[in-house]
Symmetry: none
């Protein structure tokens, strides 16, 4: 059985434990232990004795699975992901695969196709030995959808937020140009309706496909959607208009190709608005978290206290203290 500790290799650089590295599970090419070296037999047997302890997370949409287990007596994390289907492989796949009929109706029919293994590989990553930190990093936290009434907000959520002392000093640093000043693409300095606009860190700005900017308001008295009233309509309209104009001018992306929204709950409790490309399936643009800015403005125009009084749905992770508070209050 392969002992994953015994491989001698020269590591180039360091920082394998970096958060970014773990999250993207990318690795540097080995020196002195090249693929094609006679590791065939060692590789073959590496997973045959793998014992699953738990599935950490999986995605039916992305066709992957993250598994905590053991290789011999070593803790390991194994990540499997189906590979994209490439056009150039199609002729061979069609020629050499077994096809099992599932159903047929008029012009439509469905099958399970079974290609030869070499045409249908699964990308596999092994972290071994894996530490508890690795296991926790990959573990998907279960999420739940909560419904928070206006009352719940005042009696449960607001006290919770205030007790957590979430620091937004980094936001103030941006607003005061103490940090990231060179990243700001637009500013309206008005203390009531003004904001700064800058690229979100998730966007590397190398393509417009995943364009992502954030507008952060200058005023410091609005934590989230819950604090908004019709008094804030000029602010919200200014962000919408100003943000769209700048993005059109600077990136040639028109308003019809933009998704402009707020999050509830937000990641941090200082009002900010997201501008993302419509072609980008941005995390957090799902209906259970995002609120289109155009809808927010409309709702406040119709009812000045819309976001004070209504029930709002939002996601919580299983380990979120706020979920515990809702449970304690008998609201879940």
């Amino acid at each position: 059985m392969a002992d994953c500790r015994k491989r001698k290799i020269e590591v180039v650089g360091g920082g394998d434990e970096s958060k970014g590295r773990e999250e993207t599970h990318t690795f540097r090419k080995v020196i002195g232990n090249e693929p094609g070296d006679d590791n065939g037999s060692a590789s073959e047997s590496l997973l045959s004795g793998f014992k699953t302890i738990a599935v950490l997370r999986d995605s039916a949409r992305e066709k992957n699975i993250f598994i905590h287990g053991k290789i011999d007596d070593q803790e390991a994390v194994v990540i499997l992901e189906k590979t994209p289907i490439r056009e150039e492989s199609l002729p061979e796949i069609f020629k050499d695969s077994r096809l099992k009929l599932e159903m047929k109706n008029d012009i439509y029919s469905t099958y399970q196709l079974q290609p030869p293994p070499h045409l249908n590989e699964i990308k596999t990553t092994v972290v071994c030995p894996a530490t508890e930190k690795h296991v926790k990093k990959y573990l998907r936290q279960e999420t739940f959808l909560l419904e928070e009434s206006g009352e719940d907000y005042l009696s449960i959520t607001l006290p919770f937020i205030q007790s957590q002392s979430f620091s937004v000093q980094w936001v103030y640093n941006i607003l005061e140009k103490k940090a990231e000043a060179d990243r700001i693409v637009h500013e309206d300095p008005d203390p009531k309706v003004g904001f700064v606009l800058l690229p979100d860190f998730k966007w590397d700005q190398k393509q417009l496909d995943d364009l992502y900017l954030i507008a952060i308001v200058h005023r410091r008295d609005i934590k989230s959607l819950r604090d908004l009233t019709s008094e804030h309509i000029p602010l919200l309209s200014n962000i919408r208009k100003g943000g769209q104009e700048v993005i059109q001018k600077r990136y040639s992306v028109p308003a019809t190709k933009l998704r402009v929204y707020l999050h509830y709950q937000p990641s941090y409790y200082h009002l900010h608005v997201h501008f993302t490309s419509l072609s980008y399936d941005a995390p957090g643009c799902g209906v259970e978290r995002a609120h289109l800015l155009s809808d927010v403005i409309q709702n406040l125009e119709a009812d000045p206290k819309y976001y004070r009084s209504r029930c709002l749905s939002f996601l919580v992770r299983a380990d979120d203290g706020l979920l515990r508070k809702f449970k304690d209050a008998g609201r879940v």
Copy 2:
């Protein structure tokens, strides 16, 4: 070579050309030509002579590909999608797969895993003969976000919908138990507040991760969100309560793990509600298309004509006739 015209099957109902069915590329179970019938040899050869004309779209994230081509001299669209990796298949996969080392660095190593074909199937759908309409439907189109006022709906969208004669006969076949009766998991037969609940075809029901059911109302006078008024609150509440209860009972999935929503614009103009697993990043659960049922009910309770009067945002494809109508009306 299989000639897709020669298969004799009994088609129940009609309307294969319905917008909704095409968009979800879902199909009805064949009558009189069951899977397991000796179609093995016919199936085997169906794609071996497939000739690709063009790839219509593909997704590296979702591991699928939509191909326009020919089977014999027939135009066809073939859709291939890798299947999710299920925990129960892991022991066999680990035991019986070939493992090819790509690289190794300290505790990290990557491989290509090659499982036996029956453990690594590709979901395959064939539309043959395919029309130009099928090809266009699957071709990835640029999308735009439109804002439709209550006025726009009456003067542009509604006439457009009516002019298109989108058939919902297939929906009526389901409601009348002429088709898919065996797939219905729950029914409330009340003509005013009743509905049927059945799995969406996107869900193969082999795991709960991507749970997806649809509730279709019995009454036939509600095309979409736009037709809803406070008169429909009992109906909407019944769907919400009934759907959640059945899903809890049958699949042990609680309401806190469900995303329950309507689409605007919908795929077909007969009111229906989507129930998806919170853990499933379902296509169409983005804020620009989905409307949480809980929000819809709340909005109608506050304003009986909420969805008649307000501006609604929605996506249109570049080739959508409705976009052309909005442009002609100077609204884009």
